[in-house]
Symmetry: C2
Subunit: 296 residues, 2 copies
């Protein structure tokens, strides 16, 4: 399959939906909505929404059913980036080559734009207009998965442990904790929400969860490898920036070759998890290959 | 009725429920959960949860049904206080006589504790264990009301306009916008969610909405008056602090006497809105009187 074309088509669908769902730049307070849209439309590749859509399609669902939840997930991801970049956190001036939210709108508005995006995600998920053909029970279940993956025992928890670890020597279990929480939780939730909204059964839900866990970790290991062997274009950030910051990485903890072997293994496990799926899971298989092979 | 006893009993119920719903201090990451609990248990009077419970009871509902949503609302309120106090925002070192969250846990953890509390509110609202006897449709509706009142066109929007207004001369409509959004939206939502969860009909929902709008505004006008005529104990912050900060207030814009007249009028309107309710709305009537009469 042509993964590049698939990603492009779906990015455009997601971008269009996000633009419809978010309040316009002229909606009052205008400065707040400008700040929210600035970061949502800052060149994100829409990895998470596309994974949710692909999971939904893998179990035979259609994209329309999953678009609101996919966009809600992108809003949650974007809010986390805005807050991560703040002076009190990572203090980053640039992201994907553009000034970060607080550099453009000031710190106070950036904090509030993040808060508002997180809130808007739950507004979108619970709005009566979204996902009309989905039962209220399923929508609550999806909402709950998202709230848990983003919360104190998910993404925010991972961020806290990551912060605490900076400048300290950490072991592999701690690094694993950080990744399964800080980035892995949202990716896993994407697969699970896609499965639920697409009408998948329990076995499919479990298989897609296994795919999400392994592909999510593969993504992180590959990212760490790219930070060492370098490909700024693929990575979207400076090569060596994790090292410079004293962040623990897989290559640093287990050596580059072992990290690359581990990434391949995780890719195989992800594809294996899709064993009982037909051709409709082909995009997920291609994504797993792409994630890892760019770093080998 | 004995309002003081009513408030005390309900505060204790809310405090107990909040403690059960929030992850314990030893739950990992411990520092994050400590920070969340620090601000939730910082002496809040639980005005919003109690209003939701009182609305639920006014339409014949029971407290158990409404406790999860009432606690979720208090988490949202608490997150907003933590973020409001940040150096980039109001830069407050103390709240209710205790050091603010970022003074104790640092700015990064305070930002994340706020994020996590907001997320936890939606986790609680969507969790399958909460409000079992309530239909999924109603729970989604309640969730949507909360997300809207807290978002960019509700509380966060009001906070942005408040920030923009600081140090500038503003007119009464702008002041009204700030209050109906920054504080009024959450209070209105409490009444509406209480009505829905208690099983109230459309007329009762509308009446309680009118009560919420007028009592919410009365609360704000009374707060502004207290900032001038002073009663630090009632107010929980320094007398004259709004003035010192150059914040617009009702007494500043319309004069003290006119503000007091307006507060009385709003109180009357709030009580009038409850005209068709029986004795079960007595707590709401007493609350409206209490809000205003402490400032007259």
């Amino acid at each position: 399959m042509d993964l590049k074309a698939y990603l492009k088509t779906h990015q455009e669908r997601v971008d269009g939906a996000l633009s419809r769902y978010l309040p316009g730049e002229e909606t009052l307070p205008a400065q707040l909505h400008k700040a929210m849209r600035y970061s949502v439309f800052a060149g994100g590749k829409r990895v998470r929404p596309i994974l949710m859509i692909a999971a939904c399609e893998a179990v035979g669902g259609v994209i329309e059913t999953v678009l609101p939840a996919a966009c809600a997930m992108e809003m949650i991801h974007t809010y986390s980036l805005i807050h991560d970049d703040l002076p009190a956190m990572d203090d980053d001036d640039f992201r994907r080559g553009r000034p970060t939210n607080h550099k453009v709108f000031g710190e106070a508005t950036a904090i509030l734009a993040g808060d508002a995006l997180l809130t808007e995600a739950f507004n979108l998920l619970s709005a009566s207009e979204s996902a009309e053909n989905i039962s209220a029970e399923t929508r609550l279940q999806v909402l709950n998965i998202m709230a848990r993956c983003a919360g104190s025992m998910g993404m925010v928890g991972g961020q806290v442990v990551d912060m605490e670890a900076e400048g300290h020597d950490i072991d592999l279990p701690t690094l694993q904790y950080i990744h399964t929480h800080k980035t892995g939780a949202l990716i896993l939730a994407c697969l699970q929400c896609g499965a639920l909204l697409g009408g998948g059964n329990k076995d499919q839900f479990d298989a897609l969860s296994r795919y999400g866990e392994t592909a999510g970790l593969a993504f992180q290991v590959a990212d760490d490898i790219l930070d060492v062997i370098g490909d700024q274009e693929v990575l979207g950030k400076d090569v060596g920036s994790d090292q410079a910051r004293g962040k623990a990485t897989y290559p640093a903890l287990m050596g580059l070759e072992e990290a690359q072997r581990r990434a391949q293994e995780l890719k195989d496990l992800a594809i294996e998890a899709l064993g009982s799926f037909d051709h409709r899971a082909e995009p997920l298989r291609a994504i797993a290959r792409y994630i890892v092979d760019r770093s080998s």
